[in-house]
Amino acid sequence: MRRSGLLLPLVLFGVLALVPGLRAAGVPLGGFWPLLLERVIVFAIAAMSLDLILGIGGLVSFGHAAPLAIGAYTVAILNEANVTEAALVVPCAMVAAGVFALLTGAVALRTRGINFIMITLAFAQMVFFAVSSLADYGGEDGYTLFSRTRVLGHDWLGANNFYVSALVVLFGVWLLLRMISLSRFGRALAACRQNRVRVRALGLDPFAIELVAMVIAAMICAVAGVLMANEAEFVSPAYGGWQRSGDLMVMVILGGIGSLHGAILGAFVVVLAEEGLGRLTQHWPLIYGPGLILAVLYLRGGLAGIGVRRG
């Protein structure tokens, strides 16, 4: 298990809390940055859930956009049925993504290495094509929500409250994943990453451990999907595309694999790169791509590892 101090994560949450803090203090904040950070927060939840299996479990899933899309489309489908209450939407999204992860994980975990990457990708592509074919929900064009999800009747996911709600969810997810990663389960999962044969010889079942981790990660990611649909008031198949899965992996690796809070930094850089560089120049991948390679080569431990002595 990687040692991680509490200072950096708390600073990160402090910075994210500046937006509502300043607003509460009467500073009129609007425009680019709050909206960008809102997206960062939602992506950070998804990436952090991926970090449980990728960083701690060492399972290179190239299909983590699938539970994101499942969460988002649960919002759309229930929206069409006039169900907009989070107390229903969120459990439905989590159960759907959890069942998906249970079934596909049970197959994917029979393979290792590159095959695992390809199989998780293939399952996510199945979700992508499945939602693309949902003609009632806009097919490839996507679907615009009638209204945002309400939380116990409150407008907590409305445009004015969304930021704070998403931040609270991110904080809760961080606490939860941190607790899990430090628990007996997290230790066994980290052991599977290092040496499955040894774990099995000690009387623990790596397959069951990794499968449960995949289900937990998918259920959390589905919550990010619910938030993402609400933030955009729109869902589209791109939520489940392989590029999205790749983005999530980049966020985890760039931010600092296995650190959990690194996902926030990774999400910030990736979202900023896509939105910010995209505005500056249409050739932004020319900057983004080499930047990524340099980061992987020179930032061992990712952005969260800068200034942290390791070993």
């Binding site: 628990s183 290092q194 040496n195 623990l204």
Partner: protein
């Protein structure tokens, strides 16, 4: 002979035309040390792999305390009281030495499925783990990363991981390889002290250790048991001397 704790009947395994295990029968009585010796490539490691469940035999049966375990997965066998050490050291390199053993305690005393409370601060398990490290003489390195250990120390760590599970039977694949003379003497004394509480199937090339420790010795060559008996009987066996020990032993 006393009731066998570990019993292997008619075990066979081939890799293509190569018969690595060619009809092996073995009985290890409870609380005794049964050494399996034989030249390189005789099939000793493959035999341990099959007993532990990592390798599936083509035919034959493996029984632990009378129960047929031939079809069980390794983690189920471990839960039934079987422990092993590996010829090629197998530890968790990114964990501390203590945490390696604490995970072994978790495997035998608990489960993976508890999601609350930090595992590292479970005092009872850490205490058991530290006691295991003391028995093998590695307590001084409890806080170091397992990857920082020497080869011999990793063997000691593996032995500690097996011991803390309080197994009914241990399969040890060359536990003394890489140990210095002092460590070896300590480990030999330790293994001797386990007699009576744990059945041990010991694969070892150090013949002094084998003849000092074993209650029974089986000689394996080309996948077959060519001789089995007390150390004195094995020492005197002309077939064994020709096949393995050499005339001077």
């Amino acid at each position: 002979m006393a009731e066998a704790l570990l019993e292997i009947v008619g075990l066979r395994k081939s890799y293509g035309a190569l018969r690595v295990t060619d009809g092996v029968d073995l009985r290890v009585a409870a609380g005794t040390i049964h050494a399996v010796i034989g030249p390189n490539g005789a099939g000793k490691t493959t035999l341990i792999g099959q007993i532990f469940g990592a390798i599936r035999p083509d035919s034959g049966q493996i029984r632990l305390a009378g129960r047929d375990i031939t079809g069980l997965s390794p983690h189920r066998r471990a839960r039934l009281g079987l422990a092993r050490s590996f010829q090629i050291t197998s530890v968790l390199p990114e964990f501390s030495v203590l945490e390696n053993v604490a995970l072994a305690v978790q495997g035998s005393h608990g489960s993976a499925f508890r999601f609350v409370w930090p595992a590292r601060s479970e005092a009872k398990w850490n205490g058991l783990a530290l006691a295991g490290l003391e028995r093998v003489g590695l307590a001084g390195r409890a806080g170091d990363l397992a990857s920082a250990l020497s080869h011999g120390e990793k063997r000691q760590l593996e032995l500690a991981m097996a011991l803390v599970a309080e197994p009914r039977a241990m399969l040890l694949d060359e536990p003394l390889a890489g140990a210095g003379p002092e460590e070896a003497a300590r480990l030999i004394a330790l293994l001797g002290g386990l007699r009576g509480s744990c059945a041990i199937l010991l694969v070892e090339h150090d013949m002094d250790a084998v003849f000092q420790l074993a209650d029974t010795i089986s000689v394996l060559a080309q996948g077959r048991v060519i001789a089995s008996g007390t150390p004195d009987a094995i020492r005197a066996d002309p077939v064994v001397r020709a096949a393995y020990l050499g005339e001077d032993f």
